[in-house]
Symmetry: C2
Subunit: 270 residues, 2 copies
């Protein structure tokens, strides 16, 4: 996210005029989208389009067990899906224009759970979790589909869980970047206690932006909730990405010495 | 402002997962700042910093007759200063990362007048004019300083001027890009009639955003007016630049065929 600043002289009619070039880095922030269980990358494309508009490189993908790999739906496990996320992350970083120090990961539900764990395995600067799911660590390689049969997920998600006792929450506790945490007001799948657990675990983040989608269910069935979420996400990404570039530019300007007056055309009388 | 879209397959554990990479163009929009008479590039640096934050390459410069070339203050004329603007524009386009189809020019007062004329000589996609000054075409090579003595500028700026009768207004009439026009509520130098002339001339622009700075004088002497102007400018640049990238991304998505459903995790029950 570095910003270049160069003082130059431009020749004109045998004279030279002084100029300054401020340039955003050629490297762009990268945004990785991780969909939820039963979802697909298609759901992330609209948000990816908007993030690309901010000047980012975006990657969406289908987790194994979905779409082309739907045959593995009954057998795929968290370990495999986490490797999917790692492979997608590494592929995003292989894009020639991506700044490895400016990676955002956006995860929904099961994808949020995986995104949280990803932060312990790869550098993530910005972490956005919408209704992140939560599972006990046990049965890590058990088929994901069986988790809610073999374990009492309902009860687990209604308990206060300490970060030390859960891999995803522990990842959040170690996360030092900026976090966005979005919950649905009426979420039967990921109840408020899960969000509270994540929020508590994220207490060490550089910044935490916590938002509730009023009237929304887990799947954001209503268009209005979809739109509200998109706005929250893009507004947060804008603040993070534009803000980081501005800080970099300010550092360059400060290095020029004392600030010059900011008044525009103070002497202009013509 | 093109956006790349690529469907890819990512190998993982002998499987392949489908992914999509959406990438903002490596080329960045360029923003040229033209200060007012008696001003300097120093006044534009803060706004350039914010525009760099949007992912742009920015160029500020000192017109001849100012700063290092202050010795020419009494003699420099519009023709020379226009060549300064042209030289600065061409230098901005020589920056390796600049997209020649995505150039914004931001001019204040005399700089706005020159910026308007620039659009007839070089491609400009976005034109921002704050309190653009207006001069009769006569005496084009007369020293700028003498213009208000040799001509009755006060009267000229209080008349409705047809675009056909003035070089800067004529340039605006031919301008097909997007325009921002900002006036100060209490401007003794550039009265409301001048702004009305510019607004009328800009009727062919793809979009016109007209704003008044409440309580402000020509020089924006108060910090609040400076801040309000900066916010207007950056908000407009954001809409233009982010919007253009989003349109490009949408075109790429549309080319993929019928839109896939936008509902997130509609089947997610876990």
């Amino acid at each position: 996210m570095d910003i270049g600043l160069e003082r130059i002289a431009i020749p004109v009619d045998g004279d030279r005029i002084c100029a300054t070039v401020l340039t955003a880095a050629a490297k762009l922030p990268g945004v990785l989208f991780v969909h939820g269980w039963g979802g697909s990358q298609a759901q992330d494309l609209e948000r990816a389009r908007e993030a690309a508009g901010l000047g980012c490189v975006c990657l969406t993908f289908d987790l194994r067990g979905h779409e082309a790999n739907a045959a593995q739906w009954e057998t795929v496990n968290r370990d495999e899906n986490l490797r999917d996320v790692l492979a997608a992350y590494d592929r995003l970083l292989a894009e020639p224009n991506v700044d490895p120090a400016a990676i955002a990961v956006v995860g929904i539900s099961y994808g949020g759970y995986l995104a949280a764990i990803l932060t312990t395995l790869r550098p993530v600067r910005w972490l956005a979790l919408r209704s992140p799911a939560l599972y006990a660590d046990e049965g890590w390689t058990m088929p994901k589909r069986q988790l809610h049969e073999a374990t009492d997920l309902h009860a687990y998600r209604r308990r206060a869980i300490d970060a030390a006792g859960n891999r995803a929450l522990g990842a959040c506790a170690d996360f030092l970047g900026d976090a966005l945490l979005v919950e649905s007001e009426f979420d039967d799948t990921v109840p408020r206690q899960v969000i509270a657990n994540y929020a508590a675990a994220l207490s060490g983040a550089r910044s935490l932006t916590s938002r509730r989608l009023p009237g929304a269910d887990h799947a954001l069935s209503h268009e209005a909730a979809q739109l509200a979420y998109r706005r929250m996400l893009i507004s947060w990404l804008t603040e993070m990405i534009v803000g980081a570039r501005e800080v970099a530019a300010q550092a360059r300007l400060d290095a020029l010495g004392p600030r010059e007056p900011g008044h525009a055309a103070a002497n202009d009388r013509h």
